[in-house]
Structure formats: C-alpha cells, structure tokens
C-alpha cells in the first residue's frame, strides 16, 4: 500500500535516458567481465592434442546484449515507463524464438527473461493508474489473507499426502527414492532447527552427528550383528554424547567463533573416519550393511534359512518397491517423532530457555538460567536426531563412506533451516522440498540443475529475507487467538 501511494505521489516521472543507458552499459560490461570466464571458454578433449580451449565468443556477446536490454527495460519499468519494458520484453521473446541463438540454454533463458520483462511492464502499467494501484493492493491483501487462512491446513495436507504417497499410481522407485531423500533432509532440518533455530547456536558441522549415527549402526550391524531396531537408540545416544562432547569446549563461544569451531569439528570427524581404517575401513567405506527388517522378515526374494521373506509372510508378489516403501515409512515416522518432540519441548521450560538464550544470553544469566546446561541439551537433542537419521541412512544405502559426510551436507541442512525461517517447523518442510526436490526434479537440466538451486535461494532471500515462514507463534497465549485477532 505504501509503495502504491508513493507511486501516485509522483505520477509522471520523466526517465533520465542517458543515465539509464549508461547504467545498462555498465551492467552489460560487468556481465561480460564475469561471463567471459564462465561462459566464454570451454575445455574440450581433442584426443591426441589433449585438452584445448573452445572459444564461445558469440554466446558471451548474445548474453551481454540480452542483459543490456533487460537492464534498460527494468530501469524504465521502475521509473514508471512500462511501454519500453513491454516492447523490449516482447522483442527478446521474439528474438529467442525467431533467431537461431548459439545454444539451447541461451534460448530458454532469453525467452524467460522476455516473459519476465513483459510481466514487469504490465505490473508497472497497472500500477500507474489509481484504479490499477487499488486493484493491485486489494489483490495482494486478499492473497495474504488467503495464504494466512490456508496455512494451518497446509501441514495437514502435506502430512496426508506423505502418508498416501507410496500407494499412488505414479509412485515408482524414482519417486520413492526422492520421497525418502526429502524426508531425510526434513528430519535433519528439524534436528538442526533445535540447535540453530531455537537455541540460536550456529552449527556448521551438523553432518558430523549424522556420520556418527551412520557409522555406529554400520559397525554395530556388520561386526556385532545388531539389528536396525536395537542399533537405532544406541546410535542416537552415541550421537547425543558426541553433541555434549562438542558442546563443552565451545560453550563460551558465540556467533562466528562457534560457527568456525563446529565447522572444524565436522571436518575432524570426517578425517577420523577416513584414517581410522581398523574401525571404519577408511576411504573404502563399509558395505553390506543389513537393511531394516520388519519383525525379522527381510525384504529379499530369498531369505536365509529359518526366516521368511516379507512378501511370502504376507503372501504378496515379490517387489523391490516393498523395501523402499517400508524405508519410506520408517523415515516418515522418525521425522514425525522429531517434529512432535520438538513441538512439545518448545512448550516446556527447556524449550523456552533455548529461545531465550537465542534472544539474549546475558538476560538469561541474570534470570538464573544456567547457559551451560541449556546449550548442552540443545546440542545433545539436535545431535541425537541426526544420529537417528544417520542410522536410517546407513540402513537405506547399505554402504557408507566418509564421502557422504562432507561439509556441503552441513551447508545444505543449514540452508534448509535458514531459508525455511529460523525456528519454523513448517518452513523446514517447504525449504527441504524446494532445495532437495527441485534439483532432483531438474536433473534433466544436467549441469544447469544447480542453477535452479541457486535461483531458489536467491529468490527466497530477495522476497522472504527472514525465510519462507518468518512468523513465530508464541508457545502460550493468555488470550487464545480464536475469536478476535489480538
């Protein structure tokens, strides 16, 4: 509303064309300087001649021209001149479809830019008139109300979908794998949410606890014959102990310093796994890890003597999907337990103390809250859920190596928490679907799929700087909100 009023206050802004052209030129130059190294060269293997450069000058030039006009159109639209934006957008779209651009990628991107510019032009044209501005304001307000009202149903809807997903006709092996992957990250995100979102302790080495859980199960199962169900709590407790172990030395650290130490801890765990060959088999990893069984029935076509495979036990046709569906439900239940415990803890004194610690540690101390214990419990709880998730990961993959527990995993889990909105359980789910699901979905884009990942991150940070779900509900109300809004 404020923006619309500001626009109305100065309806006929004359655009400073020389400045706009100069700005567009500078942007194109910048793009050229960056793009020449990223797009301009390509190394190709020429057999005998070895690796050689291929120069893609045309690509760079086309990209810079597109960027020049795109920037010009954006400046014009922002300055209240929608016509140039519409014309340039339409022109780019036509050029992308009509001319033969040097690569498919450029064609796709140029068309998208054209469409975006046309939309931007229409948007500013709509807002130029008073009636249009009112329509926009009303629409955005209604959209806000609708999303706010629909929000509580979103969780229930997603949960229902997650439960029925394995029985839907399109749920083949690929879909189930993706579902398991997303749920694993949801669970890890929920676990890290306790440490980062609630207690406000920036942990960059979270994957270490995931690794501890995975290796605990792998070693207990392959060397000591433990079953998945027996190893699950043991691995969780072991990971929680590692959480306390990490917690002790870093108690006095805050913010950046804590982040650096936890980053180091993550690397230490990975390097120990690489080098302690006697226990972990080092870089070769541990293979043949038994998968989870249901009441002692394995998911194999033929069971070892004395056991009945799952499909015979239930009198079904053997299907490799049974194992995936079973694993899917295990991770679904584990994730839901993580969520239930976190939601419950938030309403207990410990959870409130975590949040208070995030808000102001000095004030906590002045109220008699022991910051040491409070931080350690947060680390331990977060680590325990990572340990559970790690056990599940080992049982699902049936092979683990230190390769799986590199820093980028910690970074992805942290991005899920931050992009979802610190402390928001629903935000973690949405961010996990977006950040894990999207790149998998766009696997067809090949090398450009990480672009989708990056684009999602940039868009969220631009439009939702506090995360997808920035709203925080108090853990207790004096005046319950049903009825009138406070």
């Amino acid at each position: 509303m404020a923006i619309a009023t500001a626009d109305r206050a100065r309806p006929h802004v004359s655009l400073d064309w020389p400045a706009a052209l100069k700005d567009a030129g500078v942007t194109a130059l910048l793009a050229a300087a960056l793009g020449i190294f990223i797009v301009g060269f390509r190394t190709v293997d020429r057999g005998v001649a070895g690796l050689q450069f291929d120069y893609q000058v045309v690509d760079v030039v086309v990209a810079c021209v597109v960027i020049f006009f795109g920037r010009l159109a954006l400046t014009a639209a922002a300055g209240g001149q929608p016509v140039p934006a519409l014309l340039i957008g339409a022109g780019l779209l036509a050029a992308a479809q009509g001319l033969k651009l040097p690569s498919d990628f450029l064609t796709v991107v140029t068309s998208l830019i054209g469409v975006a510019l046309v939309l931007r032009g229409l948007w500013s044209w709509l807002r130029r008139s008073e009636a249009g501005a009112r329509i926009v304001a009303d629409a955005s307000e209604q959209f806000g109300t609708v999303t706010r009202q629909a929000f509580p149903w979103l969780g229930a809807g997603l949960l229902a979908f997650a439960v029925v997903l394995p029985f839907l006709p399109f749920a083949d092996q690929k879909v189930m794998d993706l579902g398991i992957l997303i749920l694993t990250y949801v669970m890890l995100g929920w676990g890290l949410n306790i440490v980062v979102g609630l207690a406000g302790l920036l942990d960059l080495g979270y994957v270490a606890f995931y690794a501890v859980g995975a290796y605990a199960y792998a070693i207990l199962a392959t060397q000591h014959g433990w079953s998945f169900w027996a190893a699950l709590p043991a691995a969780g407790i072991l990971a929680a102990m590692f959480g306390v172990l990490l917690g002790f030395p870093v108690l006095r650290l805050r913010g950046d310093y804590l982040a650096i130490v936890t980053l180091g801890f993550g690397e230490i765990v990975r390097i120990v796994l690489l080098n302690w060959v006697d226990l972990t088999e080092g870089p070769a990893g541990i293979g043949n890890i038994p998968s989870a069984q249901i009441l002692g029935h394995p998911f194999t076509p033929n069971a070892p003597e004395g056991k009945t495979p799952f499909h015979e036990w239930l009198g079904l046709e053997f299907s490799a999907n049974h194992r995936l569906i079973f694993l899917y439900f295990i991770i679904l239940v584990l994730a839901l337990i993580t969520n239930a415990v976190t939601v419950r803890l938030r309403r207990l004194p410990i959870g409130r103390a975590w949040e208070a610690l995030r808000e102001d540690e000095v004030a906590c101390q002045a109220l008699g809250i022991n910051p040491t214990n409070t931080k350690l419990t947060a680390f331990a709880m977060g680590a325990m859920f990572a340990g559970f998730a790690g056990t599940f990961f080992a049982a699902k993959q049936r092979f683990i190596s230190p390769e799986s527990f590199v820093f980028i995993e910690s970074a992805i889990i942290l991005s899920i928490v931050v992009l979802g909105g610190m402390g928001s359980q629903m935000g973690v789910v949405l961010a996990a679907i977006l950040l894990i699901g999207l790149p998998e979905w766009f696997r067809d884009l090949g090398q450009y799929r990480m672009l989708a990942f990056g684009l999602a991150m940039v868009l969220i940070m631009v439009f939702k700087p506090k995360g997808l779900v920035a709203h925080r509900d108090p853990t207790i109300h004096l005046h319950p909100p049903n009825g009138r809004r406070p």
Binding site: I350, E359, H479
Partner: protein, 271 residues
C-alpha cells in the same frame, strides 16, 4: 537495626590500570530502596555488575544474608547469584527477549522452578500433573504481574514491539518473577517521560511495601531518586563520597561539589 540484606565491604574493581570502583563499602536492607547515584563514569554500573556476577571483583566481599544463611556473591557463578542467592537485575539498555511474547518473557523468568517441576523435562514431556500444576501457578504469577504493570491486554504481543516505557516495566516485572530478595535496577527511569516516571515511582514504592525485598537503584533522574529512596549512596570517580538519607545527602557539601554543583538551585527547590 538488624542484619542488612546485603553487606558490601571494600569492593574494588580494576580493569588493567583503571580503577573503576575503589574500596566502596555500603549496606542495603530489606524493605528499603537504596539508591546509588553519581556523575557519569562514577562506577555505579560496575558495582551492579559485581553484585550480579557479571564481573568478578578484584577485591571485596559481597555478603547477602537471608534465612540465617550467608551467600558470598563474589564466589558464585553468575546464574547461581540469580537462582540461589536470589538477586535479580534489570539493565541500563533494556534486555528483554524481544522475539518472544510478553507472557513468555515472564515464564522464562520462572525457569528454575518450572524446570524442577518438569523433572528436568522428563516428566514434562509426558504431561505429568505435577508439571501442569506448576505451570498453572507460574501463569498465575505472570498474570498477577501483568495486571500490576498494566500489560494484560498486551500479553501475547512480541516484547520487542512494545513501546519503550512498557518495555521498562516489563523488565522489572520479569525480574520480580524470579522471586528475588534483592532487586537491582539500573536506570529504570532512563528515557521515560514525566508521567511514566511517576508511574514507575508508584510501582517501585508498591514493590517495596508489598514484597518485603530490598531494592538497589541506579538513577540519574533526581525526581525519582529523591522521592522514593530511603537511603542514598553517592559515588564519584569510583569512591564513595556520601552515604545517608536523601536529606543528609542533599546537604552534604562533598556531594554538592561533585555532583549536584551545577544544578543545585533547580533541584533543591522541588527535590
């Protein structure tokens, strides 16, 4: 006079070569408001930080007495000073939990009791009745304080959204929710308008009357200090230069020279 609530002896705090507090001794009693005043940089907040455990004094003995027990604050960990010796404080620049609701701020203040009642979370997570009762009692206490500071209608708002004057009062209520024996207020009237400061005076006087606790007060606003203090301690350059009732302090030539010198005429007429 019976034993004072807190007895501060020879308190000295050095930061490197700087002596922020130099051999200060004083006592504060139950049911009294003791004000510490002095020009900027006189070491008032440093005295507070020593009493509440944020600094460890270089020299000195800080003894808090209650129920026949003696707590030596200079030896206790910061959170035990609040939790066991029951000394609560507020801060010069307000330190609420801004992202949490007003009610949550008051519940966090009752953390230790609730934590015990929730069996260190293990009973609480299964919703044990003992915890539910403890939480209901904590809510009653929070509600009573909300009524007292006039924040009941704002209970579910984020603390950080409240106007400045309400945040000040909320911080005092939060400190009171810890059931303190000694309440240390660091410039509670800073930034308040005259009406808000008068309400603050009423609140502090009512706390002294009803709660049987000692109040230590750092304040620049002489209308607050002179109106409600029972006992004033004046610091200048880290040393105590006067100690007595408001009337005595106002008449003390050392105080007039060091502190009230320039504003004497204006203050004396309505102080």
């Amino acid at each position: 006079m019976n034993q004072p609530l807190i007895q501060v002896d020879h308190l000295t705090m050095r930061f490197g070569g700087l002596v922020a507090v130099d051999d200060v001794s004083f006592a504060a009693s139950h049911r009294q408001i003791t004000a510490i005043i002095g020009p900027n940089g006189a070491g008032k907040t440093t005295v507070f930080n020593c009493i509440t455990g944020f600094y460890r004094p270089t020299v000195g003995r800080l003894a808090l007495h209650h129920d026949g027990r003696e707590y030596l604050l200079e030896r206790m960990a910061g959170h035990h000073i609040a939790g066991r010796a029951r000394v609560a404080r507020t801060f010069q620049n307000i330190r609420l939990f801004p992202g949490m609701s007003v009610l949550e701020n008051l519940l966090v203040a009752q953390h230790n009791r609730l934590m015990l009642a929730s069996g260190y979370t293990f009973l609480g997570i299964f919703g044990a009745a003992s915890y539910r009762h403890a939480e209901a009692r904590a809510l009653d206490k929070a509600r009573a304080w909300l009524d007292r500071i006039g924040l009941t209608p704002h209970a579910d708002r984020q603390a950080g959204e409240l106007p400045y004057g309400l945040q000040r009062r909320l911080e005092i209520a939060r400190a009171m929710c810890t059931d303190p024996l000694l309440l240390c207020l660091d410039e509670p009237a800073a930034g308040l308008n005259p009406r808000e400061s008068a309400e603050l005076n009423q609140l502090l006087v009512s706390v002294r009357e009803t709660e049987r606790i000692g109040v230590l007060l750092i304040e620049h606003d002489m209308s607050v200090v002179m109106a409600i203090s029972d006992h004033i301690i004046v610091l200048d350059y880290g040393r105590k230069i006067a100690d007595g009732t408001p009337a005595q302090v106002r008449a003390d030539p050392a105080v007039i020279r060091a502190y009230l010198g320039e504003v004497e005429e204006g203050e004396a007429s309505h102080g």
